[in-house]
């Protein structure tokens, strides 16, 4: 990474380090009940607490000239702070801005709230059942989105099958658990809103805030410093409305809100999922039809879920040749914190289901899981269930690279005594965002320094390093001559979001576009000086020259100077135009398919049920690798990250109250849980397109482990995480259940 040394030395400034003169500290009063009415909310005592500058409640909204209370990406169902109802434990009810922590806490304690509790519902299946309490009056069945895919005649496919196999898989709520908690600072200056925030989608934040405050988008400036991790949890808009609104009340003074770890858990989560998958298959291994039904527990507000749940539809089927497919994906409100993207978004839950299921089918047919997959995996030129033709797909190669690293064909020592060994594999496909846009600006100055202005967020993944490398190569300058200026909506041009592993692909391609224009401009300004046609000029290694006349050449800086220019500025853009029909799921799901695979060896202690991953080999399709060491770290990081939801991570609730809102009780993998042997392969293709790699080897982790557990001890775990207790119960045939 460009700033690796600064990172190691602790010199990099993160959002959480922001300090502004005269800054106030914000604290949030949160609902203590999962569902009910607010029958009294009195902040008068809090307002007079010494040191308090502002107390924000719903009463401050929807006044002439004031902010609007309700917002939402697709469905404006979420209040900035609760007005008359609360829908989950932890929902913001009031916000205090004070001169220090202690005054803010004293003021919070002085806000009087009385609730009248109502029946709550937490499970997505129960919430969508008849008679369940409704969270929002306009969605009486708690279903706010229904994603569909219809391809072929599924019933005929099932009729033609020799075997019908149906299984249900579950995946619980989890938390993105970035090292750095959400932090935002807001300040109003002359009617203009400035926000410094740890956000993955600065332009989305800008748009939502502009709408809430009824000002033009240009009236909002969003600046994003380095993030200490995002993993989807900082996507869309999170705490910015809270801090911007309390800053609006605090007139002029900057206000900072930094969440505690406990608040992180009630601010954003991974979707809970219940996925039923039914497949028809012939005895020779040919798949005839598949039906997938997904219930996504989205928490109390729709947030970014409608788009994510629609995107889950093509992600739920798997990279296989299946002539008839039906998918129904429901987004369900529950009395839990809102859910959003979580690294490997929706694909992790989907791959957990279809890749565990793939092994079940192979075992039922008595086929080797690798051979069965090989027989059915999609190749380039074949049609996916969305109706689009797959191009540049390498599922077979990815899976083969992973199993080759593991040594699938080598004999396996199955262990002795209580410790048994097994191996498993999984492959996945993931769509990126079908329709989105990235823009950038390149500025070259007379010192030969190139500055890349980009709204791509650097959150530890190395995006700025990769963009600098792409720019350096494309403009033919040394990497040391390239600077990257990160998101500031007053300076850096539009980008949709830093998520869905799209930055290297989308922003990288925008940089290539800009670099092409920059070289054209250099040719144009150099042509009259060198007295050569612009088209005849080469731009390489920092110089502009005519191939036929080696003497006539000049540096970029010289070309600028002799043309009387201080700098050259060009813009670049890359946009994709896809989309699926909402009724049939037919169309273009993604500009390109993300592809990854994993294979592992585990040991299972049959007396305790504990699973240890001994070796994990991962492979992803990278198209064209920009930075081999960062790319490899993405694969390795995915595997260790993925072991969390596979084996450990689960938010556990009792009547809507979270029982493990800290990193002692909510378990993340530690480095000593990492497999002793980790392999990473990055497949490239001659086509040379940049592919996203930030998530591709994550979704295979959980099903590969579950398949290895089955191989080791013959039990099929269908609930995540694969805890020792779940495995032991399964081994004992449900004893003690």
């Amino acid at each position: 990474m460009l700033d690796a040394e600064a990172r190691v030395r602790g010199a990099v400034r993160y959002a959480v380090d922001l300090e502004l003169p005269d800054m106030l500290i914000a604290k949030v009063l949160r609902s203590s009940i999962p569902h009910g009415r607010i029958i009294r909310l009195d902040a008068s005592e809090a307002e007079t607490t010494p040191g308090v500058a502002a107390v924000l409640t719903a009463a401050d909204f929807d006044q002439p000239g004031g902010p609007s209370l309700m917002y939402g990406a697709n469905i404006p169902d979420q209040p900035v702070v609760a007005r008359d109802r609360v829908n989950y434990v932890g929902e913001p009810v009031a916000v205090v801005a004070a001169q220090d922590n202690a005054s803010a806490e004293t003021a919070l304690a002085a806000v009087r709230v009385e609730y009248e509790e109502e029946t709550a519902v937490y499970d997505p299946l129960e919430a969508s059942a008849k008679g369940a309490p409704a969270l929002h009056a306009d969605h009486p069945d708690n279903r706010f989105v229904h994603g569909k895919l219809r391809q072929g005649d599924v019933q005929a496919g099932f009729d033609a099958a020799d075997e019908l196999i149906e299984e249900t898989f579950t995946s619980p709520l989890a938390q993105q658990a970035s090292l750095e908690p959400h932090t935002a600072v807001a300040q109003w200056t002359d009617g203009m809103l400035n926000v410094w925030t740890g956000a993955q989608a600065p332009y989305t934040v800008r748009g939502v805030l502009a709408e809430i405050f009824g000002i033009p988008p240009e009236g909002v400036r969003i600046i994003v410093p380095n993030l200490g991790g995002g993993y989807g949890g900082k996507g869309h808009v999170r705490i910015e409305p809270l801090v911007a609104a309390v800053a609006w009340k605090a007139t002029g003074r900057p206000v900072r809100l930094t969440l505690s770890r406990a608040e992180e858990f009630v601010t954003v989560t991974k979707h809970a999922a219940v996925i039923t998958i039914k497949t028809g298959v012939k005895r020779d291994g040919t798949l005839t039809a598949r039906q997938v039904t997904l219930y996504w527990g989205a928490g109390a507000y729709a947030d970014a879920s409608p788009g994510l749940i629609r995107a889950s539809v093509p992600r739920s089927v798997g990279p296989y040749r299946i002539p008839a497919v039906r998918v129904d994906a429901y987004g369900i409100y529950t009395n839990l914190p809102p859910a959003a993207a979580y690294r490997g978004a929706m694909s992790s839950q989907c791959t957990w289901a279809y890749e565990s299921h793939t092994d079940t089918i192979a075992r039922r047919l008595g086929m080797d899981p690798l051979e069965f997959r090989r027989q059915n995996m999609l190749r380039s030129g074949e049609q996916y269930c969305t109706g689009e033709t797959m191009h540049d797909v390498h599922f077979v190669e990815c899976l083969e690279a992973a199993v080759e690293g593991l040594g699938w064909k080598e004999p396996l020592d199955r262990g002795a005594g209580p410790v048994r060994h097994g191996r498993g594999m999984a492959v996945m496909l993931k769509s990126s965002i079908a329709r989105s846009k990235s823009e950038c600006r390149l500025v070259l100055d007379t010192d030969g320094i190139l500055t890349v202005y980009t709204s791509t967020v650097e959150m530890g993944q190395g995006a700025h390093t990769a963009l600098a490398q792409i720019a350096a190569e494309a403009v033919a300058l040394p990497l040391a001559h390239v600077r990257v200026v990160g998101p500031d909506t007053a300076i850096t041009p539009y980008d949709a979001t830093t998520s869905a592993s799209r930055s290297t692909n989308m922003m990288g391609t925008a940089v290539l576009d800009a670099a092409g224009r920059l070289k054209d401009r250099l040719r144009q300004i150099a042509a009259p000086i060198l007295e050569v046609e612009a088209e005849a000029l080469s731009v390489e290694r920092g110089e502009i020259f005519d191939d036929s006349e080696p003497e006539s050449r000049m540096s970029y800086g010289e070309a600028l100077e002799r043309s009387g220019l201080d700098s050259i500025e060009v813009t670049g853009m890359h946009a994709t135009q896809g989309g699926l029909d909402p009724e049939t799921g037919q169309g273009v799901a993604t500009p390109h398919w993300h592809q990854g695979a994993g294979a592992c060896e585990v040991e299972v202690d049959i007396e305790t049920g504990k699973v240890r991953v001994l070796r994990f080999h991962a492979a992803s399709f990278a198209g064209r690798v920009v930075n081999p060491s960062l790319a490899r770290l993405q694969n390795d990081g995915n595997v260790i990250f993925g072991m969390g939801p596979a084996l450990l991570e689960e938010m556990v609730f009792d009547q809507g109250q979270l029982l493990n809102p800290n990193l002692s009780d909510y378990m993340l993998p530690s480095l000593s849980d990492a497999p002793e042997e980790m392999g990473s392969r990055l497949l490239e293709s001659s086509a040379g397109e940049f592919h996203g790699i930030g998530e591709m080897t994550l979704p295979p982790v959980a099903p590969a482990i579950a398949n290895a557990v089955f191989d080791a001890v013959g039990v099929r775990i269908r609930e995540l995480p694969i805890t020792a207790e779940r495995v032991l119960r399964a081994l004992k045939g449900g004893e003690g259940g």
Binding site: M667, S670, E725, G736
Partner: protein, 285 residues
């Protein structure tokens, strides 16, 4: 709200401060657990009495019959002490299992015991070793057997004005064998789901004086004298080991948390009592 922070330099001063503070006072040793409790507002004392300047509370003293460890001795010091490693290797091992290096460098043995966290390592092995805890109060000194010290979740036999000064561990014989097994059901940095400490004399394969303690799976570490007695003057056969394991699994009322249900913990007691006894039998000290 402000908190008074007192730093007495002698045990009598500590007791005086404790007496004066009444229910508002809390002792702070290494602070690794207390700081978390303060932060989460599980306790809200108005007077904190630090033990960091008290003379004579830290150190490891060895004699022919016992080893004494001062209450303010860091867990890391116990873990690496040559005296402890030689006399009670399982105690050194258990102290080496607490938290992580940062915690062990700061946390103290006395603080660990006085916190009475059910998911802690030292209490279980100290129970099996038959340790005595020297406590001092206005009323004078007394020795509390570890078996009587832990009274419930985060509750000890210490009186409000009493301070734990020292841990006294009687030495075993040349034929004493011991083991401490800790089972983590989740990540390798998690707190235990169950822990078992076993201490026994093994003479030509014949077991006497088996002390077997189970912790982390129940409210307080437990020994079962009647089950231990099954091993008296007998060889530790597979059959006997299973009997003892079943005896513990069936008699101990297990707790339930995110590290395992009550049923699971009962099963883990069965597994790890067996594994600890197999380790003891194998002859490792």
């Amino acid at each position: 709200m402000t908190v008074d922070f007192l730093r007495p330099t002698s045990i009598p001063e500590v007791i005086e401060a404790l007496t004066g503070a009444g229910d508002e006072g809390k002792l702070i040793a290494g602070g690794t657990a207390l700081a978390l409790m303060l932060r989460h507002r599980l306790i809200v004392p108005s007077i904190l009495i630090s033990l960091d300047r008290v003379e004579g509370l830290s150190g490891i003293w060895s004699s022919a019959h016992e080893i004494r460890i001062g209450a303010m001795t860091r867990l890391r010091e116990v873990e690496i002490s040559a005296e402890v490693r030689s006399a009670f290797p399982a105690l050194a091992a258990a102290c080496g299992e607490v938290g992580n290096m940062r915690v062990r460098n700061q946390g103290t043995l006395g603080g660990n015991l006085a916190e009475a966290d059910y998911a802690s390592d030292p209490p279980t092995i100290l129970l099996a070793l038959g340790a005595l805890l020297r406590a001092v109060s206005t009323a004078g000194e007394r020795l509390i057997p570890v078996a009587d010290f832990f009274q419930g979740f985060y509750t000890t036999a210490l009186a409000q004005d009493e301070i734990l000064a020292e841990v006294i561990i009687p030495r075993g014989s040349a034929t004493t064998r011991m083991a401490y097994t800790k089972y983590r059901s989740r990540s390798s940095e998690d707190r235990p789901c169950a822990a078992v400490a076993a201490v026994a004399n093994l003479n030509d394969g014949i077991c006497t004086d088996l002390h077997l303690a189970v912790g982390a799976a129940c409210e307080v570490p437990r020994r079962l004298a009647e089950v231990e007695a099954l091993a008296e003057a007998r060889a530790l056969t597979e059959k006997l080991i299973h009997e003892i394991a079943d005896g513990y699994a069936e008699a101990i009322e297990t707790l339930e948390d995110l590290r395992g249900s009550s049923w699971y913990r009962t099963e883990m007691i069965r597994v790890f009592v067996r594994r600890a006894l197999v380790e003891v039998r194998s002859g490792r000290r």
